[in-house]
Symmetry: D2
Subunit: 380 residues, 4 copies
Amino acid sequence: MGMVGGGPGAFIGEVHRKAARMDGGIELVAGAFDAIPRRSKQMGREQYIDPRRAYPDYETMIEKELKLPEDKRIDFVSITVPNNWHFPMAKAFLGAGFHVMCEKPMTMDVKEALALEKIVRERRRVFGLLHTYTGYPMVKLARDMVRQGDLGKVLKIVVQYPQGWLIRPIEREGHLQASWRTDPKQSGAAGSMGDIGTHAWHLAEYVSGLAVRQLCADLTTFVKGRRLDDDGNCLLRFTKGAKGILHASQVSIGEENDLAIWVYGEQASLEWHQEHPNYLYVNRIDAPQEVWKRGNNYVAEKSPAAGRATRLPSGHPEAFLEAFANHYCNFADTIRAKMARRKADPLFLDFPGVADGVRGMKFIAAAVKSSGKGATWVKM
Amino acid sequence: MGMVGGGPGAFIGEVHRKAARMDGGIELVAGAFDAIPRRSKQMGREQYIDPRRAYPDYETMIEKELKLPEDKRIDFVSITVPNNWHFPMAKAFLGAGFHVMCEKPMTMDVKEALALEKIVRERRRVFGLLHTYTGYPMVKLARDMVRQGDLGKVLKIVVQYPQGWLIRPIEREGHLQASWRTDPKQSGAAGSMGDIGTHAWHLAEYVSGLAVRQLCADLTTFVKGRRLDDDGNCLLRFTKGAKGILHASQVSIGEENDLAIWVYGEQASLEWHQEHPNYLYVNRIDAPQEVWKRGNNYVAEKSPAAGRATRLPSGHPEAFLEAFANHYCNFADTIRAKMARRKADPLFLDFPGVADGVRGMKFIAAAVKSSGKGATWVKM
Amino acid sequence: MGMVGGGPGAFIGEVHRKAARMDGGIELVAGAFDAIPRRSKQMGREQYIDPRRAYPDYETMIEKELKLPEDKRIDFVSITVPNNWHFPMAKAFLGAGFHVMCEKPMTMDVKEALALEKIVRERRRVFGLLHTYTGYPMVKLARDMVRQGDLGKVLKIVVQYPQGWLIRPIEREGHLQASWRTDPKQSGAAGSMGDIGTHAWHLAEYVSGLAVRQLCADLTTFVKGRRLDDDGNCLLRFTKGAKGILHASQVSIGEENDLAIWVYGEQASLEWHQEHPNYLYVNRIDAPQEVWKRGNNYVAEKSPAAGRATRLPSGHPEAFLEAFANHYCNFADTIRAKMARRKADPLFLDFPGVADGVRGMKFIAAAVKSSGKGATWVKM
Amino acid sequence: MGMVGGGPGAFIGEVHRKAARMDGGIELVAGAFDAIPRRSKQMGREQYIDPRRAYPDYETMIEKELKLPEDKRIDFVSITVPNNWHFPMAKAFLGAGFHVMCEKPMTMDVKEALALEKIVRERRRVFGLLHTYTGYPMVKLARDMVRQGDLGKVLKIVVQYPQGWLIRPIEREGHLQASWRTDPKQSGAAGSMGDIGTHAWHLAEYVSGLAVRQLCADLTTFVKGRRLDDDGNCLLRFTKGAKGILHASQVSIGEENDLAIWVYGEQASLEWHQEHPNYLYVNRIDAPQEVWKRGNNYVAEKSPAAGRATRLPSGHPEAFLEAFANHYCNFADTIRAKMARRKADPLFLDFPGVADGVRGMKFIAAAVKSSGKGATWVKM
């Protein structure tokens, strides 16, 4: 594994490293960690990697890695930089034959996304997109319940992703995470909708198996001087007649990361909260509510994908890093199968990829377009 | 107190009686409880009232009560019948000089609502509208926190009222509550939006002190053959730039009566759930979440209205009936003040009235109109 | 219904009135509300009762009521005064032929309790004891689950009743409730164990159907100068080999009234919290947790007693007053059956009576004895 | 890092590996993973370690590692085998000059514990004991609140550790974890009290800063044929007059791993639950409850130890593995300081060590002794 980004002070790069390292099957051996070569070197040292493989930039990294014998060079790269760099970097690594794990949102716009999809297909590389939250075992259980028909026809989906950390204009106070995320040149056309709204959208489609067909989005920039939306409310219309609501915010004081979903069907409903990820609430008609708890036999029996995504016994909580690591496990097992010229177990393929990235970019584009027209309905 | 409706098998009439009775200051002495005179008599007996005052219909009730000496006749009537009867009955009782406590939604349409408002004003009678949920002490505390500026400028409001009891077409299986509520002739232009969406709307305006200015509503009838919407999702725009979401449903399996509200301001936010009504969650920037618990000194000090609406010490939960009774207390104390020619204490006036009813009907009309146009923005 | 106690400023007397009044079948018509005759009169006026029946003391009340025609006099009296008055008053009213509803703990000691039991039996009067919490429908459901064998053999019971209101010596600051409750002459041999520990004990025996056989109690008076225990921890041994823990406190800051019980059996377990009384948690081996919610059909089908104790549909929370009122309903229906010379429906008899009172006094005596010997095991 | 135990199918060994690996500063390079040499080799391969360093037994491991140059050999060993092996292995590794991280309970009895303490002191090695739960940041915050006087004098502590996984005699059905844990020869004198009661005891002393002085324990073996207790209830008396309750169970159906603690002081109280580890509930007199949430600035400001033990921003939950890893971090940083002949930062020293192990064994011995005498008070 190599890494682009994740230099000193970065947030998500270190999360990638912890998650990739957790299960012992992935080793970080190279990286272009920072735009400043000295800082890239520094991180290389901190990560105990060969100093020669702490590169000053990603172009050099590709060039030098390609010169290594095949069994020494990295198998894949993780791209953990601001959004504007995702496309050129992914393109370059894929072009050079490396598999790619990429942060979301995948690109800056739909055009880039489609181009990337084409490259992935042509180069036959494995491409992973880090929509963390579908890595949680109870989310996989939820999806499998819908798939197995427990809910009957899905009628309504409510999905939310409220945060409050941007209630003040901290991007003007030198806050690193805030500054690139509120900069359209680095972040893209949307703020809250791009950074977290896409996670909510992805969760809704993943769990329900439905696709958003139309949406009506009312985006707002509440903090004066901010250049991108920091709040958004959307009405959704899904395939097969389901309706929905999606809302996301970065200015909701007290909310930390309360991504949550409710799916209501004709036979049953379910509810899941990211901040309490080990529980899935299931309701059936005229029956007590069921609280499914991660780590139990009955979960693994209902959902082998949830079982596979579980490391600890019930009552020993698992959380964000494990969800993250689950995507890495499946991504890596898919690569291993490819390298061994085996067909990948369908369970391995359960991680977000380039198709999710294309749809995610369409979601962002549709939301921005709808809001720009005064919150009218647009197709996605 | 007299009552129209609340015959054998009715739901809300008995709730009115329990609530009115709770504090000992109101006595039920007359009623036209049922459209079938024999059943009205029966309920009169069950309520231990003078058989001569169990009337066959509301016209007779008015006629006969007026013939009683003033100190014997009822002071007010509670109207607890399907919506189509609210207007003619309220009009008649107000016209005869009685104060009126009325179930919501107030009338069948905006026109009736405005006519009723005119009558109330002209006859100078006390008119109460049973939006139960603003009777909860912690809702009053929430309103007072907003009023006192704890939240700063309000940015966003999310309010929901999901239920699941109409997931099956029980109106076609003889279910009394379901059948009139899904019948446009008895219920009005909206189903879920009229029955429960109005509660959610009322809660949002009551707590925030803001008014919905525009809305975009996507109403759906999920159960085949049903004649009114059983689900609705709305985007809201409030005065002073606040944005919002309101959703209500009668087909969300597992949801019982989870009216809930989140109000996010520039300085703080708050959250309240009707199913756990004794708690108000308050969040401030970079500080632990505060859980305010009903019955404590600190609640009454912050909100005298909440203090007045409290009967039991902390930890001894209060619930729906007490909220209901709080409106009756304030309504009755306002009548008492009027009868004593005293000015009512502002705390007494804290119950929903005819103005709320007019706005409620405008909310319903706007939601239906918006949805009819494909979910476009309409003014309210 | 008549009442002794419940004068101006009293807490529990007004709770009795609200609860008795709630369902419309009980009317307060007489009382000796306060040791000060003028204040008794005042409360009589506030309760709209005939001034001649607001008596200066309970002896006069008995004397005068007996002179009324049988169909005019009270059927029963509610005794809502400090503990030291329970026995003499109950004895007098029972002796005069009245049924009695009495506050707990029933008497000052076991001797009085046994004497009272004898009187109740001899006079064949209906005697109710207000252990409020077994009036909750979900507690009745819990008991019925145990009875029906859902849990299998019961192994372990944990029951707690923590409060925090006596953390400061408010009995020395004129706090009415605190002062008599911490006075051995008015309260009896125990403080926290008598006031709330008995509720916890009663709940454990009611739900489990088992009896405490032995206990080991470590009582403490944490607030200096207080004359009775304000905290107690007990180990319990039940009949049929079950073990248990009971703890109660009046000095646990932040705890309001968190009476809660966990019953673990060989096949299943259950959990209930008084502060969230509408939910019962049920766990079975290798299955999702079940949350049973009050007001649903499946509850009433499992437990007719819970169904009968329910007034509102699911999601419309019920609380303390309703639990209180449930005991009054059953008590009153039992009296009505007796007056009609009918056999009372077994469901009517589901309220605590004199036998519970005797065992409650034995529990207090055992706890005090055990603690006095350094927390050693004593039989109960 | 080297490891003893953690062979194929073992539970806790893999947890040690994941936790040690998480932060990138510790590398597993050697091990005697299994009593069967072939299986030890197999695990070595799975862990990508040099095949020569996958040893057949711990004696060989010590011998061979000592022959490696000092900068190549392991710095410390993790002992993750059944309890009966802790003492001889720890003794051997310490004797050979290695630092040791050991599973709990530390030894088989107090005598061994004292002997081990002597060795640690004499050999001046770093010794860590894996009481996982004090690695949670919110537990560190709790301890620091008590230390800083927020609670005032501590009055009462309730601590519990209920589980339900041993409700059936799975030790007789080939369940690996169950079989050694219920075998006195491998587990020691206590079952539930040794395996989980010690965690509860440790948590209580860690958070409160008090020591258990006396206890009265009622241990039970509920499952027929089981050789050790599977349930225990204890009354506690702490230094400085605090009282307490500790209970643990392996036969409480529905309980998974609900270690939880309540500490009540004269000024405030706090509550923490292992299954929801990111939250600490704090109550002060007549004030709203405070919910402190991990990852916020206000937590790190109050408790630098909690801040240091935090990897992810608020709302991104952390859980069991991170708590585990926190002990490894502090343990490793202490070793690094020692190797660099620097004084360890006091924050590094915040992990359980040999003194905790000695007290833990005394706790087990006292509980077993007390219960054996019929649950009487014994000194600890």
